[in-house]
């Protein structure tokens, strides 16, 4: 039997001695889209950043496996080269470093060999066109002076260029107007194939109208408290997180 594409196994994460993620488990098979939905403070960004190996987050228990191999002890760059991708909620600007130079380095790192200039140009133009982005965009410095929408588009551009196995999207829909949301969602859908998997981490249901999830999970206090199909997202949209939070509180009190 082959291993699942991506497994989060009883993961526990702390930030400065404070436990944020409390034994979270999730399995992604190739071709699947999972959505994790949670209110503010439920641990969404902690989960996203710790999956990628941010040094500020300490994994205190559990395991993360990509194609059956543990990546829990790996540095962020090793995880990326192995095929994991994080679309940042707040991408950092790096003045003086052009997108075109950075993207070429990133693709070459992911592939383990230098991408030839010609192939790079073709690939870049193709993905830029798909995202309705101007060629001049990549002449700019990485995220430097980008609007909120441009930053998110730049993340999707990287997703399309790097072709990861598993893409974790951290609140990619936040701060986008309706047109940008549609373009970004199309970018995710174009990337998605039977060989990769997507984990959408979001507060709102609206991106799920464009990117159809196979599974939806509700995150409360660093735990998945409910899982279901796409209809769960609609239920959340209608009733809010309140019922789940009440239930969690009751469970904690009774335990």
């Amino acid at each position: 039997m082959t291993s699942p594409l991506f497994e989060i196994d009883a993961l526990q994460v702390a930030v400065e001695d404070k436990q944020i993620v409390n034994g979270l488990s999730l399995t992604l098979q190739p071709g699947e889209v999972h959505a994790i939905m949670g209110p503010n403070g439920s641990g969404k960004s902690t989960l996203a950043n710790s999956l990628m190996g941010h040094p500020r987050y300490t994994i205190t228990g559990g395991d993360i496996r990509l194609q059956g191999d543990s990546i829990t002890e790996m540095a962020p760059d090793e995880r990326a080269r192995a095929g994991l991708f994080l679309a940042f909620q707040y991408p950092t600007d790096i003045p003086g470093v052009s997108m075109i130079n950075f993207l070429r380095r990133a693709i070459s790192a992911r592939r383990g060999e230098e991408i030839p200039v010609r192939e790079y140009r073709q690939l870049l133009n193709e993905v830029l066109g798909r995202l309705q982005m101007d060629e001049q965009f990549v002449r700019r410095y990485v995220n430097d002076g980008f609007s909120g929408g441009e930053k998110k588009r730049a993340e999707i551009l990287q997703l399309g260029l790097l072709q990861p196995l598993v893409a974790v999207m951290d609140e990619t829909d936040s701060g986008l107007d309706i047109d940008a949301l549609r373009i970004v969602s199309e970018g995710i859908n174009t990337f998605h194939s039977d060989d990769n998997a997507i984990l959408l981490i979001t507060h709102y249901q609206r991106i799920l109208r464009y990117v159809q999830p196979d599974h939806v999970h509700v995150l409360i206090d660093g735990r998945i408290v409910e899982s279901g199909d796409a209809s769960l997202a609609e239920r959340l949209e209608r009733d809010g997180y309140e019922p789940f939070m009440e239930r969690t509180k009751a469970e904690v009190l009774s335990s």
Binding site: P55, D77, A80, F85, F88, T92, P95, G96, V97, F102
Partner: protein, 471 residues
Amino acid sequence: MTTPATEAPVTPRSEYEFGFHDDVEALVKLPKGLSREVVNTISDIKEEPDWMRKFRLKALDHFNARPMPEWGGELGDIDFNDIHYYVRATDRDESSWEDVPDYIKDTYDKLGIPEAEKQGLLAGVGAQYDSEVVYHNIREDLEEKGVLFLGTDQALREYPELVREYFTTVIPPNDNKFAALNTAVWSGGSFIYVPPGVTVDIPLQAYFRINSEDMGQFERTLIIADEGSQVHYVEGCTAPIYSSDSLHSAVVEIVCKAGSNVRYTTIQNWSNNVYNLVTKRATAYQDAVMTWVDGNLGSKLTMKYPAVYLMEPGAHGEVLSIASAGQGQQLDAGAKIVHAAPNTTSVITSKSLSMDGGRSSYRGLLKVYDGADGCRSNVRCDALMLDEHSRSDTYPVMEIDEKRVDIGHEATVSKVGDEQLFYLMARGLSEAEATKMIVNGFVEPIIKSLPLEYAVEMNRLIELQMDGAIG
């Protein structure tokens, strides 16, 4: 300057490529120490006119009378009696590499100078080895237009009146202790004269090499850009690694006449046992543009603040400074701009890097005289530290005596950010590669103002230094 055995030895830069030296006995090597006799001997060897000898001796008195500066870096370890003030390897300044002694030519071959000249990347080349210029050549068409590019000693022999007219007019012998020292014992350096309206389209380059141990190199460079002319001069410098220290104390004077445009680029890559204490200053007249591009990567201690005095309306001065200090290095660099006339403009951009315990500082002075109204100036100095045990300081001083001016100032000091590193590493770049990319981005505003070959060289040198620091 032999280091006492009890002191820590000079920190070797494992990545330093030019630490070799030639083991050939010098033709002339004055005994160590500084005296009237030494100064007279240098003047005798050069068969100079009497006025120059008098200049030297007077400057020696200035040097002796002045106290050591107590700011900048630690200068107390310099023993002026433990230095050879004049070392001459050969008795000729050649205009063909074939005539330069083989072992000296080999050195310059390793530095890639004759090759660059052969490829036509340079309009002229000068090479100084210890105290004397050993090679000078300029493209024929420029020579025909009256452009002079030769060793300052040779210029003094062939064009004494021209040298005398400008020598020490920009930097007086008593300007500071080290300018006085240079004036007393100067030897070598470049002399450039560009006639009115003449454009030197590609750079003139000079290469300074210290070979001997315990020596002082005191070159003296004088550039005169006549009205409406244009020239770009580039200097590079390297030295062998020795356990004792060497001293490099140059003086560079530049006169930018009305409407001229002068750019002076330095890529300083001395070994880590060199004290680099240099005075550089330009005067810019009506509508002239003077730009210093100052890259400092080497030396044990550098104290250098290229200056532009804006003397007439419309003059523009610019200083672009990069300093990158690694283990055992202190680079105190910066800029000085003096607005002495109305409607003059200036820009200072400084980027200092420190890593592996190194220390870099920006020290700047912006002065606007009363009556110099309508001046505009923008000063931006940024410092980036690669680790906790490195140090970066900024000392920006402004003396503004005129109200109707427009002055902008911005300074930042930062550490390579965790978030930036994480972002790049999340895209598959190793920590070392990510750090290099962040540093390259940091120095980019200055690198992009360099001609391509020098931009490549500067980036390469910074990366080499980082290889030593971040492994």
